[in-house]
Assembly symmetry: C2
Homo-oligomer: 456 residues x 2
């Protein structure tokens, strides 16, 4: 099986399946009822909460089950902001948070500071601390990034937040299966289907003493923090599978890290013009991300799918979005031809080897197709070569730039006209990789002109 | 099996269980992804949406899956109110809606009109129409009541709303398993675990042309109306079980109606001082509700649970709430000793007979325990007998009233001092049942004085 997209959703863990089956007969009744079926449901729910709390490292009464990880984030951010409304409405996030955090920030209505990340994808705790203000109601930081796997310095950031008296919400969706999040965080969210639990279960932890006011209509369920009938069989399965994956985590982390190290090391040797992105050391065991120059990410996904491999892409050209990944943009790395490999637990070594065997051919196939784009209008204006790539999507503008750079003398300029936002990221990244000088961008009559000086 | 609380939650239908098992292997991936596992998940989701839409009687693109029925109501009410913000913020609900509708109304922030119901629990379409105003943004009406089973005149109310250009949201949680909701409604909500589907799935239907603006953080899932990763195995099971219960609905409705008719007819003969509530004809097939004078609802539930029967109660004394059911209060019927019997599909006749056999003993046991309460202070003030029931919970005040009414001459008065809100409902109801005159209530030094004149 070549399913390498566990960071999107992991296949159901065998323990989750067993727990679901076992609890269908016991967990369908209303746990608020006093009769036997209700009492049984309540016992299952209480036991699942104890187990999940132990895995998180919190008290059972600090943890509620929500209907998804996104819902946990939405509820957590809104409730924490409302709980500190008297302090202010300022919110801090890292620039590489999951969209559910960014959507919550937007919906919060207050001012938002995005803390930048380095080229590896991590925030600097000192820079994070500098964003704290007297009116900061809440700070958010993921435990590890969903697109590139980079681990964030949560402990150090929690410390600066604690000193400032600002609660820190940690989105632990990508890491909770691997271990608890250390440090003095105040709120934590997670999602069961990321660790092999069923869909439909998220976790929201609010530490005792953290001011919290649930927003929107509530009811008496889950301490008034997650309205609607509890999905007990799924909750039981989520808790059981979290214990199960934790039991294998230490060993499996070593194994998967070796496999992703292999990908990190060998992809640049197998494929030309590749940038492996994300921190090489402080990262999730199963995630590795790279970008390929002159490649359309969606086309590469299709090629790999034909070969039996399921991966995802943060490139500008995936179906669900037309803008490049905000994560890659914040890191300032190449976004074109982006591929994220995220290995599920138990991934076989031979599947990784087979992936490495088919990848070069898949990249070549896409590059060949793109190698003959409709010729752009190339005009020499004074000493500047102008490429009109207006209306053309990534990676065409970069391909055209690469084709003509040899036509100008060293010291000469190329001006690429483009109206694709991905170019803003990819042209500087190409210059960086190719040792050419990126002069800058200026607004053109149509779109933007990106100016590059030939250096070598 | 004596589980008679299907209106809270129905046991998992065998078809739902099969569908869940079958879709665990196919439905765990992200349906937004383009690789094979994602395409398979998308196909399952699309097929489930088609099936559910057919059962509802709407277009597939009008229906989204939410994480619960309550969530569907919260999202539906908030989105419809926001969509018509320019018209106004006035909201109409019936006085007997489910708490999720009332909570949404409260959270909506505009003015709310509660349309009263008759003694059977139904609204009058003319009275409903009279509540419509120029600034009415939305009207809500359940298809059938969750506590007493009474069907509402949805078609006629939809017609008056349509004439006024006001969208009508129908909460169909209790009835959708029995058949589609007729009439020109604009929005509809439902909950899968009420028809034997799994927990964790609700439906929200928004007809084309209805103005709708989803509130709070959203993402690209479910047309931007239900954020968070889709729970596809549960959605597949929900749709499959809805088809399955519909296939048996006509036959099963006749059978269950006969069983509940039996309870309606025989309970008043088996137990003294009982009021069967709810419309005897226009009602759900499987629901029957009655109230027993001089009985504490929670104590009766415990007695019945010991006998192997699981029922619920809208009485003031259930664990989760200390106020009497707003439904029974709105109907103006007796709330004390309230029992709702809601039969799941396939309920055996002999279980109903056994219930009828044990009920009289269970009621007697509770009445015996309550029959010797701590004697109240009885003081004769001029021509009025005063009972001090302050600090005593229902049904004690009514029991004490019943004990002393024979001590005053015909034409004489009894003044019951009580601080239990249930007395406001139950003392008039007792007068009605006993042929005594309820004179009225007045604020006393402590609590409220309820004045009753002995007539016979």
């Amino acid at each position: 099986m070549g399913y390498f997209d566990a960071a999107s959703s992991a296949p159901l863990h065998p323990v989750a399946r067993q727990a679901l089956l076992a609890s269908f007969d016991e967990g369908w009744a209303d746990p608020a009822r006093l009769y036997r079926e209700g009492r049984r449901a309540r016992m299952l729910l209480d036991a699942a909460r104890e187990a999940a709390a132990e895995a998180v490292g919190c008290r059972a009464d600090e943890l509620v089950f929500t209907s998804s990880g996104s819902r946990a984030v939405h509820t957590g951010v809104a409730g924490a902001l409302a709980g500190r409304r008297r302090v202010g409405r300022h919110l801090i996030v890292s620039a590489v948070e999951h969209s559910s955090v960014l959507h919550s920030a937007e919906a919060g209505g207050g001012s938002v500071t995005q803390v930048p990340v380095d080229r590896g994808g991590a925030v600097d705790p000192v820079a994070y601390g500098a964003a704290l203000r007297a009116d900061t109601a809440l700070a958010c930081l993921q435990s590890a990034n969903h697109e590139v796997g980079t681990e964030q310095p949560v402990g150090a950031v929690a410390e600066v937040c604690r000193e400032a008296g600002v609660p820190l919400l940690v989105d632990a969706a990508q890491s909770l299966g691997w271990g608890p999040v250390d440090g003095g965080w105040s709120l934590l969210t997670a999602s069961a289907h990321k660790w092999g639990g069923p869909s439909g279960v998220g976790l929201l932890v609010v530490r005792k003493g953290v001011r919290f006011a649930a927003q929107g209509p509530v009811d008496e369920r889950e301490s008034g923090r997650a309205p609607g009938f509890e999905n007990i069989p799924a909750i039981v399965a989520a808790a059981a599978s979290l214990r199960a994956v934790r039991a294998e985590a230490a060993e499996e982390a070593v194994r998967l890290r070796e496999l992703t190290d292999r990908i990190r090391a060998r992809v640049p040797r197998l494929v030309s013009d590749v940038e492996v992105v994300g921190d090489p050391v402080r990262r999730l065991p199963g995630v590795v991300t790279f970008s390929c120059l002159y490649v359309d990410g969606e086309a590469l996904l299709h090629e790999l799918d034909r070969e039996g491999f399921s991966v995802s892409s943060g490139s500008s050209c995936t179906s669900s979005t037309l803008t490049p990944s905000h994560v890659l943009r914040a890191m300032g790395v190449l976004s074109e031809g982006n591929v994220r490999v995220s290995l599920p637990l138990g991934t076989a070594e031979e599947d990784v080897e087979r992936f490495l065997a088919v990848l070069p051919g898949a990249v070549s196939a896409v590059r060949e197709k793109l190698g003959a784009p409709v010729a752009s209008e190339v005009v020499r204006e004074e000493d500047v070569l102008v490429i009109d790539s207006l209306g053309k999507r990534c990676p065409i503008p970069v391909i055209e730039l690469a084709k003509v750079i040899g036509d100008v003398p060293v010291g000469g300029l190329v001006r690429v006209l483009s109206d694709d936002e991905a170019a803003r990221l990819d042209i500087p990244a190409w210059c960086d990789m190719r040792g050419q000088e990126y002069v800058g961008a200026e607004t053109a009559e149509k779109g933007t002109a990106y100016v590059v000086r030939r250096v070598s």
